[in-house]
């Protein structure tokens, strides 16, 4: 009864093209954003359970937001444009390391020319965004093979990016400012005089980034460019026949996707990890992001959030529930169980519901519209 759109008439084109045409959706979103932007900081400020300790913010909400952002990036490439990528971790790493270099000052000595290029340390915000831009350039570079190859072959090409950049950031010490251990520390998070240090400030920072990028991405995929991507995904030859340039569509998908993934990588390194080494962006991260997208829903922005939440919460649940029931599992067993559950879920979803949890939610909404009379 509550979720019924009867009586909501659209009288202008603008209303017809709104992101959320149904009033209940708008209200739900407003409440969600209200909780995220106002409720959580207030609760944390007054130390109300479960926000009394930093654990929830630091170990769940922060990684959730950043990984959801990265998942949006992966979803644009894999879900909307149909170009499978196993190298998302590498693009996160490119974002993180180039933001690090830009944030601490770049110095390129060109000894043979008696000349050096020096860029002074940039403000953190600029460094993060430029890090994303560098990732976008790398994405375009590794997207070029997608014009000749597709599907599985492309997966191998992106895998090449993954292994190559793993090696670059591990072995080329210029990227780590010659740190002997190979692990680097993020510069202080100073946003135009505003210092971001406490968990709640970090949370707010990521929340702003994620909200802005999610809205931008949602509008992008609804618009001209997004439609081109989806046409390429659904059938590339037909898309070409109706006048879509595959070159342009595929490379923009690679660029936008890598940009978002790069920004997420910079945030992951700067805001969540603080100090990190190349292992943080290994192939496991790429697979994790791919799973989020498959489980959450291919071709759905909301699905990226649902997938990220699911993948982060499942291990915690596996840890928590048996302990509550009095049969604590060993860490090893939990890891293995996690593997098995993720694997089974992926297979199950691919068979039964290829559009993931996002599709389940929209089916739920359809049913709710008719409730309590299912006809």
């Amino acid at each position: 009864m509550l979720y019924r759109e009867a009586g909501q008439f659209r009288t202008t084109y603008a209303e017809d093209m709104a992101i959320f045409p149904i009033r209940q959706d708008r209200i739900a979103l407003a409440i969600l954003l209200g909780i995220a932007f106002i409720g959580v900081p207030l609760l944390a400020d007054f130390d109300i359970w479960p926000f009394g300790s930093d654990y929830l913010l630091r170990a769940i909400l922060l990684p959730f937001l950043i990984l959801a952002l990265a998942a949006i990036g992966v979803n644009i490439l894999v879900g909307y444009c149909g170009q499978i990528s196993l190298g998302s971790g590498a693009f996160m790493a490119i974002g993180a390391y180039s933001a690090y270099k830009l944030g601490t000052g770049v110095h390129i000595p060109l000894a043979s020319l008696d000349f050096a290029i020096s860029i002074p340390p940039l403000p953190v915000l600029l460094a993060i965004l430029l890090g994303g831009l560098t990732a976008a350039l790398a994405g375009i570079l590794f997207g070029i093979p997608s014009l000749r190859i597709k599907g599985l072959y492309l997966a191998v090409a992106t895998l090449a990016a993954q292994f190559f950049f793993d090696w670059v950031f591990l072995r080329v010490s210029w990227f780590t400012n010659y740190a002997p251990s190979g692990s680097v520390n993020a510069p202080t998070l100073d946003f135009f005089g505003l210092n971001v240090g406490t968990p709640i400030e970090r949370y707010m920072l990521c929340l702003i980034f994620v909200t802005v990028f999610a809205v931008l991405a949602k509008n992008l995929v609804r618009g001209n460019l997004g439609r081109q991507w989806m046409a390429i995904r659904d059938m590339d030859i037909a898309a070409e026949l109706i006048g879509i340039r595959p070159l342009y569509a595929k490379l923009t998908a690679f660029a936008v996707s890598s940009f978002i993934i790069g920004v997420a990588g910079a945030l992951w390194a700067f805001v969540y990890l603080g100090s990190w080494e190349p292992l943080a962006f290994s192939i496991d991260r790429s697979l994790q992001l791919l799973f989020m997208v498959i489980i959450g829903g291919l071709g759905s922005i909301m699905g990226s959030f649902v997938g990220a939440a699911f993948i982060l919460i499942l291990p915690i649940m596996l840890n928590l529930i048996p302990t509550q029931l009095g049969v604590p599992l060993s860490t090893e067993t939990i890891t293995h169980l996690e593997f098995i559950i993720f694997g089974s879920l992926i297979c199950y979803l691919l068979i039964k519901e290829p559009h993931g949890f996002a599709r389940l939610i929209s089916i739920g909404k359809e049913k709710l519209r008719l409730w309590p009379f299912p006809y």
Partner: protein
């Protein structure tokens, strides 16, 4: 000037480890040839087979079986495990996904990878287990020709020998037997094969079983070299560029691709890696594969698929 002896030694070492890559790549080719599924789970199958073998061997030897009896029983046990796995995969994952597009099938094998990795380690334990079935000491050849001779690992020779037998067997199986012909028919077109009366689920079971047995062979050789442990699954990732270079549908291609990758990355590591920081083994094969992809997308021996992109 690089000494010829050193170069030959690196080359031979590389070729021999290339044979081992080929062993993993063979499993991929089998499944791809017969079902058009790009099997990401091959590495996990090697891990499962290796763990089943090494754990049952340990158990049998501890219970007083003689080594030979234990080896035969252990291999039998591992083969049964692979058969059960093949059946389960066909029944619950690949079967329901029949006629889906290649990407969906590929992603489902990523799911299978995780299930197998988790289950194998949960059942058989997740430590590194040593496996000793083949001699691992080295020979020194041509000692009178080169100073110090050329070091050749006995295990590698065994690996090459076994790979040769496997390839010959598989080639006969594909070309000469009824099942082999049916496999190729299924690969070409699932629907058409079904409509002429080929039992597709049986064929897929056979394919996955064959891939599982190839994984078992790969596991015995690799396990002897490195010990059976989780990192063995990363071999599967090494086998991907091998496939791209050799061609996805060609069994000889898997062998040649493996040799090229093995030799190429060892030579690159020794003679190039020392100049730019070392460890380039990790990505050299992939960059090689990228180069091949751009020039010849079907690989050296693959069937040319005419498809506009």
């Amino acid at each position: 000037m690089i000494a010829l002896g050193q170069f030959l030694e690196v080359l031979i070492g590389g070729l021999m480890s290339g044979v081992l890559y080929s062993l993993v790549a063979l499993g991929f080719v089998l499944i791809f040839k017969a079902s058009g599924v790009f099997n990401f789970a091959q590495g996990a199958m090697v891990l499962l087979a290796g763990l089943a073998l090494v754990r049952s061997l340990d158990l049998l030897v501890a219970n007083g079986f003689s080594l030979w009896a234990a080896i035969i029983l252990g291999i039998g046990f591992a083969a049964v495990i692979m058969a059960i796995t093949a059946w389960l995969i066909e029944r619950f994952v690949i079967g329901p996904l029949v006629n889906q597009d290649a990407l969906t099938l590929f992603m489902s094998t990523i799911g299978v990878t995780f299930i197998l990795e988790g289950a194998a380690q949960m059942i058989f334990g997740s430590d590194a287990y040593p496996l000793r079935l083949f001699p691992t000491d080295a020979w020194f050849l041509f000692e009178n020709l080169f100073p110090g001779g050329i070091l050749v690992n006995k295990l590698d020779v065994w690996g090459g020998f076994i790979a040769g037998i496997l390839v010959a067997g598989l080639a006969i199986f594909f070309q000469r037997t009824k099942t082999g012909r049916a496999l190729r028919a299924v690969a070409d077109d699932h629907l058409a094969a079904q409509s002429v009366g080929i039992p597709i689920s049986w064929i897929w079971f056979v394919v996955w079983l064959a891939a599982g047995l190839v994984a078992l062979v790969a596991a015995t050789v690799w396990g002897t070299k490195l010990g059976v442990q989780f990192s063995i699954t990363f071999l599967a990732l090494k086998a991907l560029p091998v496939l791209i270079i050799g061609g996805l549908t060609s069994i000889p291609g898997a062998i040649v691709g493996g040799l090229i990758v093995g030799a190429g990355e060892k030579i690159a590591e020794v003679f190039l890696g020392s100049h730019i920081g070392g460890g380039i083994e990790y990505w050299f094969a992939y960059v090689l594969a990228l180069a091949v992809l751009l020039v010849r997308p079907q690989g050296l021996f693959g069937e040319r698929i005419i498809e506009r992109i």
